[in-house]
């Protein structure tokens, strides 16, 4: 059976690109335009992996990430974060946020700098979705 991959991004171009990339590589993409929609789809569809944009206009991808990782039924789902911020900066601020929230939330399973490169995204997926 094809693995279900949820793509959450406010940018239409990125959604189309990533879902085509997934489709042509044997995955089944499902898409959400923002964090709220994303959360609903995570709960209803139980995807095998989430590709999540950090910077979205409504609420940031970080919030959805926290929700996925603090919920017993979804915390096992691997998440690949996607942002224009440099990787180092992102992981630094993740730690800072952790301290701020007072709860330890695991680091994302994968991180991709925008604009996303097809190869990098696929290799991350192969690693995370057996």
């Amino acid at each position: 059976m094809k693995k279900k991959i949820l793509v959450v991004d406010d940018e239409m171009d990125i959604r189309i690109f990533i879902s085509t990339l997934l489709e042509t590589n044997g995955y089944k993409p499902i898409i959400a335009k923002d964090g709220e929609e994303g959360l609903k789809m995570v709960q209803e569809n139980k995807p095998d992996c989430v590709i999540l944009d950090v910077m979205m206009p409504k609420e940031s991808g970080l919030k959805l990430y926290r929700e996925i990782k603090t919920n017993e039924s979804t915390r096992h789902i691997p998440v690949i974060m996607c942002s224009a911020v440099a990787k180092k900066t992102f992981f630094h601020s993740h730690k800072e946020l952790d301290r701020y929230h007072g709860a330890s939330i695991p680091e994302p399973d994968g991180y991709i700098e925008k604009p996303p490169e097809a190869e990098e995204l696929l290799s991350n997926l192969q690693r995370l979705v057996a």
Binding site: D10, I16, F17, M56
Partner: protein, 517 residues
């Protein structure tokens, strides 16, 4: 303690008698048998009081008195005279004897004389102590003064700022090291100049010639001056300085002046450096913002390229179509971004022409009417039909209104807390003083305070990758080029109102009435 007494008498009976009385009274006592012996003992024993007989063989009492008073004026000498020797007694008093007693000696008279001598001694001692204290005090005060003076002198001399002090005739009396270094003149050279201050600091001459007489006349006293100026150095250089100076007055009389010179070159240099650093930081921010915007567009282009490649590879028309659309959209985006950037950076003069502001508003309204309808937003136009034509840059203002309406559409259709019946009102209105108000009002979610503060910041956007963060900034620039202002009012939850206010300057001059009145 009782004073020590030296008793000198050649008569043994008197020596014994007086010796007993004095010892009984508790005085330490040494006894000499004649004048010569007395003087010897005086040298050895240093008595405080000498009681001596006048008439003695050899060195007599007068001689003893004279010599003792010569070497030790403080020693009290009481002379013993025979009955009827009043002449000698007076003579001895003239020679500074403290008292005399006459033979036959009564103890009472003796002790009265001794008490007086003791009092004199005590008085003299305290006077001496007092004198000594006074001397010490004067020495200490002098030392203190000297130190103070030295300190002040050092302070003046080693101060970083230059000091020039002049006396009542305008001659230099103070010219510290810094002033010498700054001006290139030595102390000797400056002393030879007849009127050094106005020569070195032309502003001082101005101050003396204009300000001082005026101040003296107005307030009866002269204040000081603090201003920027130039120091005319010896080598002809004009050194920028900050100078502060004042006249020194004693009552109403001018007794001199003092002027402090601060070298401004270092400060000027620091300020220039700071400005440059700030500019660099601003440039850095701008570049980072641009890189971010370009990265986003690049992402879209790369995605498009991938799609087109896949479409070709798999011969899938759907991929080809989507991909090519992506490429086109992003080409459009980059074109718009570049235009915005150019518009923002270009220092163009507004192309002014007589324009009907209502016509401008109508154009923008027509441009968005259909898009608004599609998005379910009610777009309304409320025009003040009495408006006269204004002289303004129609292209620029068109861009401003387009921008504001497009923002309002986004506000009503993207994000949270969207209104049930979204509505945008584009209006024009004449204001007092011949000013023009163009307004775009929406009933969207409004603008939180922290966002409002950053609205006109370069590359600030709340629209994720949709915004470039240039629109409002560009609008503001255009409005400011018109000498106008752009304002935002917003109550979160109740929408936002953007107002463009153009001043009277751009209103057309009123037509002259035909009858020439």
């Amino acid at each position: 303690m009782k004073p020590k007494i030296l008793l000198i008498d050649d008569e043994e009976g008197i020596r014994k008698l007086l010796g007993i009385s004095l010892r009984d009274a508790g005085y330490p006592l040494v006894i000499a048998i004649d004048g010569e012996h007395g003087l010897e003992l005086f040298q050895e024993e240093h008595p405080d009081i000498v009681v001596t007989d006048i008439k003695m063989p050899g060195v007599d009492g007068m001689e003893v008195l004279k010599r003792i008073k010569y070497v030790s004026p403080e020693t009290e000498v009481i002379v013993i005279t025979g009955h009827g020797e009043i002449e000698l007694a007076i003579q001895s008093l003239q020679m500074d004897a403290s008292d005399f007693i006459t033979k036959p000696i009564h103890d009472e008279a003796l002790f009265v004389a001794l008490r007086r001598a003791e009092e004199k001694l005590a008085w003299r001692r305290s006077l001496r102590r007092y004198n000594e204290t006074l001397k010490t005090k004067v020495r200490e005060a002098t030392e203190e003064l000297r130190k103070n003076f030295q300190f002040q002198e050092k302070l003046m001399q080693s101060a970083i700022d230059g000091f020039i002090g002049t006396d009542d005739a305008g001659r230099a009396v103070l010219f510290n090291v810094a002033a010498q270094r700054l001006s290139g003149y030595t102390l000797e050279e400056i002393r030879e100049l007849s009127d050094p201050l106005p020569r070195l600091v032309p502003e001082w001459g101005e101050f003396m010639a204009r300000t001082v007489p005026a101040q003296l006349a107005a307030e009866g006293r002269s204040a000081c001056m603090v201003q920027r100026g130039f120091l005319m150095a010896k080598n002809g250089e004009r050194i920028p300085i900050r100078l502060s100076g004042t006249l020194l007055l004693d009552q109403d009389r001018i007794i001199g002046s003092i002027c402090c010179l601060q070298d401004q070159r270092e400060l000027d240099r620091l300020q220039r450096d700071l400005l440059r650093a700030e500019r660099l930081a601003a440039t850095g921010q701008t570049v980072a913002g641009m890189a971010h915007a370009i990265k986003n567009i690049l992402g879209g282009l790369k995605g498009g390229r991938f799609m087109v490649n896949k479409g070709l590879e798999l011969n899938e028309r759907r991929y080809l179509q989507d991909g090519w659309q992506m490429v086109e959209r992003n080409i459009e985006k980059i074109a718009q971004f570049t235009m915005d950037l150019l518009n923002f950076c270009r220092d163009r003069e507004p192309e002014l022409e007589e324009t009907d502001p209502n016509g401008l508003a109508r154009e923008v309204f027509d441009l968005y009417r259909e898009q608004a309808a599609q998005l379910g937003v009610r777009l309304r136009l409320e025009l003040d039909e009495t408006l006269p034509p204004f002289v303004l840059d129609p292209k620029g203002l068109h861009q401003v209104l387009t921008n504001l309406v497009s923002n309002a559409l986004d506000a009503c259709t993207l994000g949270d807390d969207l209104p049930a019946r979204p509505e945008i009102i584009l209006s024009s209105q004449g204001l007092a003083g011949g000013r023009l108000l163009l307004q775009v009002k929406d009933n969207g979610p409004g603008i939180p305070e922290e966002v409002r503060k950053k609205l006109f910041t370069i590359f600030f956007s709340t629209k994720g990758s949709r915004g470039t963060g240039l629109g409002l900034l560009l609008s503001q620039k255009i409005v400011q080029e018109h000498g106008g202002q752009i304002q935002v009012q917003s109550v979160p939850g109740e929408g936002a109102t953007f107002q463009v206010i153009l001043s009277r300057k751009f209103a057309t001059p009123p037509q002259k009435s035909p009858d020439g009145l």
